[in-house]
């Protein structure tokens, strides 16, 4: 890109940015949008924390599809994995090993806590899953060999339940006479925890697999 074009591009973007900024300032921002409705229905949702209620119940369908996005990214990365050099990363962070040995269990506990606490305060499956995946990343950095065949096999099995359990819960609520993902009111809390638990595991494994390189699974062949 030549200098003149670059400046023209920058100028154009600046004009657009100012235009958009002035538009944003005109957005009324009055009214409560969906807040009042969320608050009104919160007691029905099975959890006490509004964001979790939206994520897992009111707009649970989005979250369900979001798990599908994760799965899709994994499939896509898998399709691209053929010729990338997958040797583990060089790490000479021996100093960290001790720390990691301490940190990983703590991270697992933190993840579990985040999951559980999500029902009534900030936290939840995504944050917990990310923390768990972070534990895996740390392990990979310090001990490239930890992803033994068996661990991989477990990881492989854990990739799909996030979506599947969500889906089964949704179907079950349909069979019980509701709509898809319409949890029976009295069971909503525990069903959400169930869904979140599996989602967290799958999120963690998926994110870690995306980090670590080639997933070698796929049922043979």
């Amino acid at each position: 890109m030549t200098g003149v074009v670059r400046w023209a591009f920058a100028g154009l973007l600046a004009v657009l940015a100012f235009g958009l900024a002035s538009v944003v300032l005109q957005i009324p921002g009055t009214g409560s949008a969906l807040r009042s409705q969320v608050m009104a229905q919160l007691p029905q949702s099975g959890v006490d924390h509004a964001v979790t209620a939206v994520l897992l119940n009111f707009r649970g369908y989005d979250t369900f599809l979001e798990l599908v996005v994760l799965l899709l990214a994994l499939f896509g990365a898998w399709g691209l994995s053929d010729s990338i050099d997958e040797a583990p990363l060089d790490t000479d962070i021996d100093v960290l090993t001790e720390l990691v040995a301490f940190l990983v269990p703590v991270l697992i506990v933190v993840a579990a806590y985040l999951l559980w606490v999500g029902a009534y305060s900030p936290g939840g499956a995504f944050q917990g899953g990310a923390v768990l995946a972070g534990a895996g990343v740390l392990l990979s950095l310090c001990d490239p060999g930890w992803r033994s065949r068996r661990v991989e096999r477990i990881g492989e099995v854990l990739l799909v339940p996030g979506v599947l359990v969500f889906l089964l819960v949704g179907l079950a609520s349909m069979l019980l006479g509701g709509q898809f993902l319409e949890y029976p009111r009295d069971m909503a809390g525990s069903l959400i925890l169930l869904v979140e638990g599996f989602a967290m595991l799958s999120i963690a494994v998926t994110l870690h697999t995306l980090f670590a390189g080639t997933p070698r699974f796929g049922g043979g062949a």
């Binding site: 890109m1 940015a17 300032l25 969320v38 939206v54 009111f58 995306l210």
Partner: protein, 100 residues
């Protein structure tokens, strides 16, 4: 101006900084980062304006969490694709490879 509006403007700024980099940078890694920063800008706009007269609207928060996960998924795929492109063409840029 309210703080919410300030952050919304920052979001717009991030969006356009990212857009500029996406258009100007050649290397794929900054371009992928640029998309992430554009995404952050959009998320900021979504959340900043969620501060309402009577409290915070949680729905945009949920949307942004969804968006963050979608973004990381896309980023993971993009990075992998970048590696393959770099392998195949010898450079992590989108120079046209010509016909056959």
């Amino acid at each position: 101006m309210t703080p919410a509006q300030l952050y919304a403007l920052v979001g717009i700024g991030l969006f356009f900084v990212g857009l500029y980099a996406l258009g100007v940078r050649q290397h794929l890694l900054p371009r992928i980062l640029a998309l992430n920063i554009m995404g952050s800008g959009v998320f900021v706009v979504l959340v900043a304006l969620a501060r309402r007269s009577d409290g915070v609207d949680p729905v945009p928060h949920a949307m942004v969490i969804t968006g963050i996960v979608v973004a990381v998924s896309a980023t993971a795929l993009a990075l992998r694709l970048m590696l393959r492109v770099a392998h195949a063409t010898g450079s992590a840029t989108l120079t046209d490879t010509g016909d056959e």
